[in-house]
Structure formats: structure tokens, C-alpha cells
Amino acid sequence: MAAKLRAPGFYRAGWMMALGVAFAFFLTWVIRASTGHSTFRHYISGEAITTVSILAVPLLFLVGIGGFDYWFYWAMGRPTRPEDHSGHGARTWKDYFRINTDHKVIGIQYTVTSFFFLLVGGLIAMLMRAELAQPGAQFVDANTFNGLFSVHASLLIFLFVIPVFAGLANFVLPLMIGAPDMAFPRLNALSYWLLPVAGALMLGSFFAPGGAFADGWTAYAPLSTNAPIGQDFFSVGVQFAGASSIMTALNFLVTIITMRAPGMSFFRMPLLVWANFATSLLVVIATPFIAASQFFVLLDRGLGFNFFKAGNGGDVLMYQHVFWFYSHPAVYIMMLPGFGIISEIIAVKSRKPIFGYRMMAFSLLAIVVLGFTVWAHHMFTSGMAAWIRIPMAITTAIIAVPTGIKVFSWLATLWRGVLRLDTPMLFALGFLTTFTLGGISGVMLAMVPFDIHVSSSYFIVAHIHYVLFGGSLMTIFGGVYYWFPKMTGRMFDERLGKMHFWSTFVLFNLTFGPMHILGLQGMPRRVADYASRFADMNLFISIASFGLGLSTLIFLYNIVTSWRGGPVSVANPWRGMTLEWQVSSPPPIFNFDRVPTVVGGPYEYGVPGAVHGIFAPTPAAAGVGSGLARAPSE
């Protein structure tokens, strides 16, 4: 038992978390006693203890689970245990609940955890739609309802869409560039374990006095700075989720720059790698801004700072500028990896090279740059200086050009191909149509007079779900089906996959399509109740959304049963050229038994005799590879 309490794992995490609470108790006691709170009743304050606890307990959980062990050993001068990769691979399901440095294990940990939060976020959405089926109050009061949509959005943004892309890329990206692992495996393990922490904080806010944080995922000040304690769970949860994405993004950047196989020049990288390169740039530049915005809120709340208190010289609009300087790029953080997935699927399933490969890569970089020039389009009606609307509207319209290039290039890739219309491809084609609609409504929102009418209305709810559900989630489903054989070594059920696609596609449009009209008609978003003239359409939307929720069960059933007992998959079921398909399914523990040498582009379908990577017998391979650039600086 004593050994268990000392070894990294849940036991050690347990007592360390208790230590965290004790520390919070002690710290607040000492500070309050020393600042003149003399009676015992004043020694302790539940609110102060909670605020310190939600910072200390998660950190000590990470220490307990073993996230920092290596660095502690090193810092204390004790002999570090060199990474011998003995922990690679997962032998039983229990291995997924431990610190593990294998990128394939971490990829699955990431993906499964994110899908757990998708289900929770989806269930919360069902509750909201039940409440909104009729005007008036049915199931929940207004405060709970405000908490529901705030947690729904926060979970699905910070704990589903962003990390699930990091999870899929964690699994396939090192394989795609011919690397044995990520550049920093221990950092990789730590960034995964930050996620459950962030999720627990956000869900835990429901148990806080005063209820969950209830001012939207945008948490505008000064509403958030005056909210009950549940708000702190959001502010701190975002720090952990943000730290996780920054660490993963740094890891991806270094991995892509330094760990490509011989011959894998930048313009031989699959577009999924390009997409994650671009996304990681966005993450490392933008994420510190949302961290800052939430620290400001935390300081205003906890220590009486005046960042956003208008009466005390604070600037209310400042919050929105800092917040959107992250949260607009975040839209692309949630979209570019999906673009990468779609490029992989469409090239392989159309049996053609990606049309305009270089322009596809350049348009990603153009989006990265332009993505930082449009944030105030979320603030056209915020009361900011009027002139800012002009440049922001122009850049917002222009950023549609690189996105358009990508859509047209995918269409041209389809043209004259030999199309395999299986589940991953159906999701890719479904994505193209729904995402185009989301893009079109986005362009319309760049038109200031129109935005002045619909800003913050249900039109925005429709638009964001066409982008994040019809866009991101479609690509995620497509990607999960596409790499499922590689990740698990088994095939999914194709018939159920098609059923899942069609039910999702139809019910998605029935759920979110009518919301455009609701918004134009004058229904605001984030309301627990609405005027009776919107009743019919809301009932329709609620019924469709329940069907949409149920369609997810088809997916779950398919994935669970196929993972447990689906037919065994061959190494390369889709006849893909990229490197991840050239190793067994699931891949060997160290990815490549022989180091691959890349000799051509990743999508040379239809070119007679073309190959992307070769696995020559080890000594001879050096001769082939030496003629090709390996310089990391390339």
C-alpha cells in the first residue's frame, strides 16, 4: 500500500489533492489572520478557499499522477530515468489510465476523452432543446439554463473540437512524417492529462454555490466579474485547457520541423501535417491572449483589481478585444486540422493527386496571417470606435478567399476521379456542402449593416453550428472512420457508418437551418424563454435535435462493437500512399522497424510507378536518402 501511495498514479494523486485543499485552507487562514480578520469566523472564507483550491488541487493532481516526475528527479539532482520507451504501447485498457509517453496511446487517450466530452456537451444541448421546445419555463430555471449553454459551449470548444484534433494528429502525424514519436514525449503526456482536469473543473462548476458559470463561453465582463464563484471554474479551467493546447502545439511544431524522415521536404508533407503546422502556429500565438483575459477576470474577482470596472477606470471593451484576439483565431484552430483531414480523405478516395497542392499549403498560411486581422468583426455592435468596423470588415471578406481556394481545389480533386463513396468520403462530401453554407453565412456577417441586425441573434447560433458542427464535427467523424482501421487494427461496420452519415447530415440541417430564420425574425440567442411567435419553429428544431442526438448512438455502437470484435483490418485498407498506411494496423510499438525514405509527393495517385516512401533494407537506404534534403531548417 505504501508503495502504491508513493508510485505515480491515482492513489498518490488522491492524497496530494487532499493536500491541495489543506494548503488552500492554510493559505487563506494565514493571509486573513494577518490582515486583521481576528475572529475565528473570519479566519476562513469558503469562497477564498475554493478559488485557491481550484488552482492548487489540479496542479497537485498532475504531480500525483506523475506528470512532472522526470523533471522533479532532474531538478533534485537524483538520477533521472532515461526514456527507454519501455512504457510504450498499451497492453490492457488500464494502461490508458496511466501516464504514457507513446504518441499512439496519447492519441487514443486524447480522442476518447474528447468524445466523452462531446457526449456530455451533446446531452446538455438536449436538455436545452427540451427547455426551448415550448415558450415559458418547463424543466430548468433561467440561471440553470444560462449555466447549461455556457458549459455546453465551453466543453465542446475547449474539450472536444480543439483536443480531438490534437488527438487524431497525435496518433497519425508522427507516422505521416516517418518519426518514431513526438519530439517531447513527456510533455505530450502532461498535455493530455491537463484535459481531464479542465473538463472536471468546468463540469464541477455545476456543484458550486450559485450554480455553474452562466455568462456564456465568452464570459463578457463586467457580468463575469460580478458572477457567483462558478465563474472561477471557467477562468481556471480555460487556463488548463489552454496550457494543454499550447504544449501540444509546441510539440507539433518541433516534431514537424526536426523529425521528418529523410527526403520528407516541406512540400512532400501530407496536407494534414501542413494543417497542423498552421494550426500550431495559431495556437502558440493566440492562446496566451485568452489566458490573459481570464487571468484579468480572476484578478478582478478574487483580489479586487479594476481591469474591467468602468467606475474605477477599468475598460469594459478591453475584455472583448483581448478575448476575441484569441477567439477568432480559435475558429481556425477548430477548422484547419479538419481541412487537413478532408484533404487526406478526398485524395485517397478520389484516387487523384490533390489539385493545387502548393496553393493548398499556402492558403493555410494565408489564413494564419489573416486570422489575426479580423477579431473585431465580433464587435461590430459592441460600441467600439466606428472606424474599426471598416478595416475589419474588409479583412473578414478577404479571408474567405483562401478558404474558397481550398473548397474549389477539393472540388477539382473530385473531378474525373474514381470516387469511393464509403463512410469517410460521405462525411467529406457532406462537410463540403454544410461548410460552404457556414462560410456563406460568415461572409454575409462581414457585411456591417446586416451584422448590426443579426449580431448575437439565433442567426449566429446557426452560423457557428454550420461551421463547427457541419464543418469541424463532420471532418472529425470522417477522420475517425478513416483512421479507425489504423488506430485499432479493426474495420468498422460500413452499413452503420452510412446510416450514421445520412441521419447526421439530414437532421443537422433540419436542426440548424431554421435557426437562421429565427435570428432574422428577431429571436436573441442565450435565452431561456422567448416570445410566443417563435414557438412553432422552436418545437420543430427541438424535435429534429433529439433525432440528431440519437444518431450519435449509431456511431457509438459502431465504434464500440467494431473496436471489440470487428473484422481485422489489413495494413492499408484504403490503398493510401502516405506513410502511416505503410506500417501494420495498429502500427508497431516504435512505428517504423525500418526508417522510411521519402522519394516523392504524398498524393501521386494515378502516376504510374509513383511511391511516396520506400523502406529499403537498412544499410542501403542511406544511399538513397543522402541525396535528399534532411536539413531541419528546410
Binding site: D215, R351, G383
Partner: protein
């Protein structure tokens, strides 16, 4: 069917779809009643945008459906690949330049509408709008009433006269949205936000708080009554009498020339 004939058929069907789409865009009741000149401009902008976007959406779906129809894998083609086409510079330049031009055209038009909607009229009245959790109140300054200031929890506006709203918040941010005018701005604590409207249709229309402001947000609604100018005067007089003063106010003072202030509606000043 030969490739040429199927292509012709597809083009015809796509053109038909564009026609139906545009017809539908006129048939659908997108908006609530138009009750301000700004609403007319914005709705026209919306229709132009929809008409510009329909062909693009139809083009994307048509290419997908045509590819599915013509290029799907047939039995026996399991090992067949498509032609190795890597790109086409002329096409790529075209689909960069054409959307860019279209987008810039749309944005230019939207700026024209924005300018029209916000330009300063020769005469306008000022009405104060105060938001607090979770209610609206409206202040008519002496320049409008010709006597003491008048306050009301419903908004009354004379038809055909330009009005500039001056928005104040007592607590958190709200948004003052009149869907029938197609106009809104946030009501921000610490600053005064302004915007202009010219109501041009009699009737009563909803006022909605459109920015989450707390527990009562969804019920923070009010109404605007657009009434004939004479009736507006009578309403002001009755409010003044109710407050026990203002019996001798001169009606001519009710509309004041706009004092020079910020030149653009929506501008915020500390």
C-alpha cells in the same frame, strides 16, 4: 449517356436550381415588419447578398453531385486510379481573383448601405435609453419635451422623424435591439453609445435585449410605438401633465436641430 450530354444536363439543372433558389429567396418571409428606412436598406442588402451567394452554393453542390453521379467507382474499378492532374494555374488564378472581386464588390456595397443608414440627418431628436438588469427606460430631454424631462418604460417615437438614441447602462452590458428597425448596439457601462433610426411605419414593435445580462435576460423586453407626430406631441403633453408641469410648453420646441456631436452613429465616446 455521353460525357458531353450529361454535362449539358447538369448545367441546365444547375441553372434551374439557381432560378428556383432566387425565386425562393423572394418567397420566404425572412424578416419581421420593416419599420424604419434603415430596415429597407438592410433588407435590400440582404437580398442582394443571397442572390450573389446562391450561384456559388449551387456550383459547389452541383460539382459534388455530378462527380458522385459520373465518377463513382464502378464494379471492376477497384484498383483503378484517376488521371494524375496536379493543378491548373489558370483555373487557380481564376478562383482566387473572381471570389476576391466579388467579395470586395459586396463589401463596397455594404459600406454604401452603412453610410446611408448612419449619416446625420438635417434634423433629429435625441432620446436617452437606459438599461439595467432587467428593464429598459427611455428619457426624453427638455429639447424634445419643451419642458421638464420625461421618462417612460415604453418607447414612443414620431413617425418620419430621425431619432438618435443615446445608450447608458447602469450595470452590465446589454444590447438595444429593435428587430423591426434592423438596428442594435450594445449598451456599455462607462461609455455612451449612440445610433440613429428613422421610423417610417406606424405600429408597435418589440424591443429586445440581445446581449446576455444575467438571469432575467430572456425577459428583458419592451416595445416601441411608432405614432403620428401629432399624437407624439399629445403623448408628451400628457406625460408632462401627469408630472404636474409643462402645461405651457411650446410645441415648436419639440424637434431640435441636432447639436454637432460624433458624426457617425455607433461611435462611442467616453
Amino acid at each position: 449517356m455521353s460525357r458531353r450530354r450529361s454535362l449539358t444536363l447538369a448545367v441546365v439543372l444547375a441553372l434551374l436550381a439557381i432560378g428556383i433558389g432566387i425565386a425562393l429567396s423572394y418567397a420566404i418571409h425572412w424578416f419581421p415588419a420593416q419599420a424604419a428606412t434603415q430596415a429597407r436598406n438592410t433588407d435590400r442588402l440582404y437580398h442582394v447578398l443571397v442572390i450573389a451567394c446562391i450561384p456559388i452554393f449551387v456550383l459547389v453542390t452541383a460539382v459534388i453531385l455530378y462527380s458522385v453521379w459520373q465518377f463513382h467507382m464502378r464494379p471492376g474499378e477497384e484498383l483503378k486510379d484517376g488521371p494524375p492532374i496536379h493543378g491548373n494555374t489558370r483555373l487557380e488564378v481564376l478562383w482566387t481573383a473572381f471570389p476576391a472581386a466579388l467579395l470586395l464588390g459586396m463589401i463596397a456595397y455594404s459600406f454604401v448601405v452603412l453610410h446611408d443608414n448612419e449619416k446625420k440627418p438635417a434634423r433629429e431628436i435625441h432620446v436617452g435609453v437606459t438599461a439595467q438588469q432587467f428593464a429598459w427606460s427611455f428619457q426624453y430631454p427638455p429639447a424634445v419635451t419643451g419642458g421638464a424631462p420625461v421618462e417612460s418604460d415604453q418607447l414612443y417615437l414620431p413617425k418620419g422623424e430621425s431619432v438618435q438614441f443615446r445608450l447608458h447602462s447602469k450595470d452590465v452590458i446589454h444590447a438595444f435591439w429593435i428587430p423591426a428597425f434592423r438596428l442594435q448596439e450594445d449598451v456599455v457601462p462607462g461609455i455612451t453609445v449612440q445610433y440613429r433610426a428613422t421610423p417610417d411605419r406606424l405600429g408597435t414593435y418589440p424591443i429586445v435585449c440581445n446581449l446576455l445580462c444575467g438571469i432575467g435576460h430572456s425577459l428583458m423586453r419592451s416595445a416601441v410605438h411608432v405614432i403620428p407626430p401629432a399624437q407624439f406631441q399629445a403623448w408628451i403633453q400628457s406625460r408632462l401633465r401627469a408630472a404636474g408641469q409643462g402645461a405651457g410648453a411650446s410645441p415648436s420646441a419639440t424637434v431640435a436641430g441636432a447639436p454637432s456631436s460624433t458624426s457617425t452613429a455607433g461611435a462611442a465616446s467616453k
